[in-house]
């Protein structure tokens, strides 16, 4: 019988409230007054500018749905012959056992998202900003490249989590005024890896023992360096153990503007429960906030299928929920990622060929697209070779 938790999660999109409810409430409360004033629609440039403030999140949501549907609905692949090859002991999450390893993972994974979502050379261009730029530029249908960009942001993280070998962390001397430092390497499927640096102060917050209950709490504040960009970060590592139950509350967030309202955060969800139905689950939840508003939420977790390891990404955005299951493999000597999942209940499949400097997406209708692959070793990737073929 299928796992109840998974069944609930799979059906959640049919239950959770739609994004329009929030906007309706705002309108009714007069919190979207500028938009409401446009309702009589005499038009005018001033009114249109005001409306953008409220419409951008709506447009972003709607277009995000359109983007992913546009990319993936045509992808009803019937791909066969792929062989999963990642052994179970490659679960990177299993390596996260203490605060240091958690912060190393946070730096590597958030660094990968930040680097992939913007241009590493541009100071602090966050995923949130990159996303909203894509959306706001697209008054009509977004370009095909923009569609792939949405998906592409996650590929370096997927590669890192499905690559062989551990996430390497090495202690280095503190810098930028911080006492501690570490460099973290997130591997990729071509055998290389991207290097990120984290400089931080460690703050011991609390620790107490009450009977059988033990609590420890550490936090960090510091700076994440990805290429030429630097992001202020903070993190928390908190665990609690009571009898045979354990719970951790861990997060690592990198701020992407000066207000501290825009950031990318990764949180660990970890539950270990004893009893007859003992089970351990760990997943990492990535949240992208812009000006205090949650734009996107993505859950990364490993799954074991047929003795091999797969990565499950669940992406939630404005009422749309898609799940994509990735596994690595090889085709004609090339490293590939097979993606399989559902979007709004529709089955989708596609293949990503991983090549130096680019990802080659192949869809079921024969179309393909080449997109930049973030590579820390290449600081001048040629981004003029993107193309999209709908043939």
């Amino acid at each position: 019988m299928k796992n109840i938790k998974k069944m609930l999660k799979e059906q959640a999109c049919g239950v959770l409230p739609d994004g329009h409810v929030k906007e309706n409430i705002k309108r009714e409360l007069g919190l979207a007054e500028t938009e409401r004033s446009l309702a009589p629609a005499h038009g005018g440039e001033i009114a249109a500018k005001d409306r953008r403030k409220w419409l951008i999140p709506l447009i972003a949501g709607a277009l995000a749905a359109a983007l992913l549907l546009g990319i993936l609905l045509p992808l009803f692949l019937r791909k066969s012959g792929s062989v999963p090859n990642l052994p179970l002991d490659n679960n990177k999450f299993a390596e996260i056992t203490d605060a240091d390893s958690f912060y190393a993972y946070g730096a590597a994974s958030v660094g990968a998202l930040l680097a992939a979502s913007g241009t590493a050379s541009e100071q602090a261009l966050p995923a949130a900003k990159a996303l909203s730029v894509n959306m706001s530029n697209a008054n009509a249908a977004p370009s095909d490249d923009a569609r792939i960009d949405v998906l592409n942001r996650y590929m370096s993280l997927v590669e890192g989590l499905l690559s062989e070998g551990a996430i390497d962390a090495e202690n280095v001397t503190g810098a930028y005024g911080y006492e501690f430092g570490m460099t973290v390497t997130l591997g990729n499927l071509l055998g290389g890896g991207a290097v990120y640096s984290l400089y931080y102060d460690k703050i011991y917050r609390s620790g107490k023992q009450e009977g059988e209950e033990r609590e420890e709490s550490y936090a960090i504040r510091g700076l994440l360096v990805t290429g030429d960009a630097q992001y202020p970060v903070e993190g928390n590592y908190e665990t609690e153990t009571e009898w045979d139950e354990a719970e951790s509350e861990l997060y690592f967030k990198a701020f992407t503007d000066d207000t501290n309202l825009s950031y990318i955060e990764v949180e660990q969800e970890y539950e270990s429960e004893g009893g007859d139905e003992a089970e351990t689950e760990r997943e990492y939840v990535y949240s992208v906030y812009e000006r205090g508003a949650l734009i996107e939420r993505t859950i990364a977790e490993y799954e074991q299928e047929d003795g091999s390891l797969e990565l499950l990404l669940t992406i939630e955005r404005e009422g749309l929920r898609e799940t994509l299951q990735f596994r690595s493999g090889r085709e004609s000597g090339e490293s590939v990622l097979y993606a399989d999942g559902t979007i709004d209940g529709e089955r989708v499949r596609f293949t990503v060929y991983i090549r130096e400097g680019l990802y080659h997406y192949v869809f079921d209708d024969g179309s393909y697209s080449d997109h930049d692959r973030y590579d820390d070793d290449d600081n001048d990737d040629d981004d003029d070779d993107d193309r999209f073929d709908d043939d």
Binding site: M1, G14, L16, V21, E273, G292
Partner: protein
């Protein structure tokens, strides 16, 4: 710490800072929504009632005792509105409403079977905890704070709810 932030945002909203709404909504709406859904079992009605709940609550924000538990206060309003909705339908429709409440929504708004099953077989507290932990994505610690109960109780009720669902499905599979 998160409750402190929520309280600050509520105070900001009371002062007229509309930007605080997003935070308040994101951190409380799922709890209120599932309180409603448990009662009405219809997505469309639950969404309407969620909207009504927020509008009513935020328009009477002065009645909220600062520093208590905003989410619990919101859920009280939500339940009250949902029960009023049910009463209204009881008056208007002569049928076995208890057994088929979810059918009074539109066909498109029916909730998936597993969620309907959960609403039918679980007590309200277990249902709410299950939804908040498994669907809304809250940590057990956050759920404990929201509901004002110990984290151990959240864990226990969450596990109980899962076991009951599993048992029920097994029973139905075997039937």
């Amino acid at each position: 710490m998160k409750n402190d932030t929520l309280e600050r945002k509520i105070q900001a909203l009371q002062r007229g800072d509309g930007t605080a709404f997003d935070y308040i909504y994101e951190h409380t709406h799922k709890s209120a929504y599932f309180a409603i859904l448990y009662i009405v079992r219809d997505k469309m009605y639950a969404e309407d009632l969620l909207q009504e709940t927020f509008v009513k609550a935020l328009r009477s924000l002065s009645q909220y005792a600062a520093g208590t538990n905003f989410t619990a206060w919101l859920c009280t309003i939500a339940r009250s509105l949902a029960l009023n909705h049910i009463k209204k339908y009881r008056r208007e429709v002569v049928t076995d409403f208890d057994a088929d409440a979810y059918k009074f929504g539109t066909g498109e708004a029916e909730i998936p079977y597993l969620f309907d099953l959960a609403a039918r077989i679980l007590p309200e507290d277990e249902y709410e905890i299950l939804m908040l932990c498994q669907i809304a994505g809250y940590k057990r610690r956050e759920v404990a704070e929201m509901l004002g109960i110990p984290i151990g109780t959240v864990t226990w009720k969450n596990n109980e709810a899962l076991k009951k669902l599993k048992r029920e499905i097994k029973k139905e599979d075997g039937a």
